[in-house]
Amino acid sequence: MVAAQTQAEFRRLVRVPEFTGFGLAFPLILYVFIGLQSGSLAGVDFHKYALASLSTYAVVNIALSSFGITVANERGSRMDALMRATPVRSIAPLIGKTIAAVSFALAALVLLYLAGILLAGISMPLEQWFNLTWRLLLGMIPFICMGFAIGYISGPSAAVVVVNLVFLPMSFASGIFIPINNLPRFIHDFAPYLPLYHLGHIAWNAVGVSYPDIAASVLWLAGYTVLFVALTLWAVRREDDRRFS
């Protein structure tokens, strides 16, 4: 059941051109624009730094849109009602969606890595490639939970807007497109409260930037995971009361 669900969820994602376009092509295009400048930042080659930035952007984008938008659509189209009437355990679609989104994110990373190697001539130890990959895939968890909360709280047409309204400003404020030190003072002060800021630090750390307290970033993400899970459970219960009680 879970295997079939995963396959179906993967097909659903891959066959939506907006999703494949924004999920795979957009980070590559951004890398060409941002990442091919030479120089260094925070003590590492800028090509590498930007690769970590846009890899972070790519996986979080997939987590938020595959969960936020599809969950909202399933509620809007009443597909969730049909699923509830089947004997499927509600955990199966959730696992299927997660595996599908993580596989998709891995594909997006591989594409970015190829661009980094072929276009920017990046060479780094295998350990760093490996670290960047597993940290980012694991780091999707709080954002999957965040997507789930958005998908359950907002309606189907609002979900796309909410995801973009949250994600784009958060990406800028977390230093994904522009180094944090170049941002206005108030954003600079606010950034350390954002989950993406911490995932960014974990990614930059993987390619060689050293931070004194990377463990704090991990804790921040764990805290956000708890927060979004709680928010989702609240929203699911609210939905149950409204539509299925």
Partner: protein, 311 residues
């Protein structure tokens, strides 16, 4: 799984008075805020039976089906599916459902959706079988989003039967379908029934319920107002339906006639009577300038109309 199926079938008969009932509502009430959608409904569906739930919009038909499926909970009273809580996965794996307006993944092919839903059930039918029974052969490689409304409805039917359910729930399955598609749909339902399955359906097209149902349950304002075979329900109301145009038609002008289910819609009048000749004699005696007169045998539709107060 077969062993456990047998064992809880046995316990069904002992735990519940109505031995072997597929679906049961027992004095079910359902309130949405201050609105009472169901006000004490008891329905029991036996194996192999096709039961039609009829009644006007807002009568409570969909609410009744939602309770039977565990999509909603009764405020008071009980809902049982195969003698179990309808939310129980063991009950659900023996049930197939077509809901009003429910979505399916638009970017999957027809065959892929059927194959996905098959994996939800313990003893599914073969995909080729399902595709054929639902008349989807030529569309099976199409993406769901490229299907017409009628073709999509067939997909919903395929998903409802793919688990080889013992009970099938169809909530307004033919809304928005053209006549030919509707006819072929009912052929599919009929052949499914011939395999000994129980079916609960709601429909607006009462001639369809008349042709298919073993039993009809008429619901109005959240209560059952009649429950019997279509023939018996039809016999509850006078035999003929009379319609005509009469610009002078008012409630007073038509008072004192031996009729039921009188509806005056501008100059258009329709009524039911067991003695149409007498009614017309009286009207002509009153000097009514009647045009466009029709007298026809009353059907289930007229019967339900009378039973539900002409709504």
């Amino acid at each position: 799984m077969p062993a456990s199926t047998e064992s809880f079938r046995g316990s069904t008969a002992s735990a519940e008075g109505d031995g072997g009932a597929i679906v049961q509502l027992v004095d079910a009430h359902k309130a949405f805020g201050r609105v009472e959608a169901l006000r004490g409904v008891s329905i029991s569906v036996r194996p192999g039976e096709l039961v039609g739930l009829l009644g006007p919009n807002g009568a409570g038909k969909t609410t009744a089906i939602s309770l039977m499926l565990g999509l909603r909970r009764p405020t008071t009273g009980k809902a049982l599916l195969f003698g179990l809580d309808p939310m129980d996965l063991r009950a659900r794996s023996r049930t197939g459902v077509m809901l009003q307006e429910s979505g399916i993944p638009l970017t999957l092919r027809v065959r892929e959706v059927v194959e996905l839903f098959r994996t939800y059930y313990p003893h599914p039918l073969a995909t080729d079988n399902v595709v054929e029974m639902a008349g989807l052969g030529e569309f099976q490689e199409k993406l769901v989003k490229n299907l017409s409304g009628g073709q999509r409805q067939r997909v919903y039917f395929a998903l409802a039967i793919c688990g080889d359910p013992e009970a099938l729930f169809l909530d307004e399955p033919t809304v928005g379908l053209d006549t030919a598609t509707r006819r072929s749909f009912w052929d599919q339902v009929r052949s499914f029934k011939q395999r000994g399955k129980s079916i609960v359906l709601t429909t607006h097209y009462l001639d369809e319920a008349d042709a298919l149902a073993d039993r009809v349950v008429v619901i109005d304002h959240g209560l059952i107002v009649a429950e019997d075979s279509p023939e018996a329900i039809r016999a509850l109301v006078p035999g003929k339906k009379v319609t005509f145009q009469w610009p002078g038609a008012t409630a007073e002008a038509l008072a004192g006639l031996p009729v039921e289910g009188l509806v005056i819609d501008g100059a258009r009048v329709s009524l039911l009577t067991s003695d149409p000749e007498q009614v017309l004699r009286i009207l002509f005696g009153r000097g009514a300038a009647i045009t466009d007169l029709e007298v026809a045998g009353a059907g289930l539709e007229e019967a339900v109309l009378v039973l539900t107060g002409g709504r």
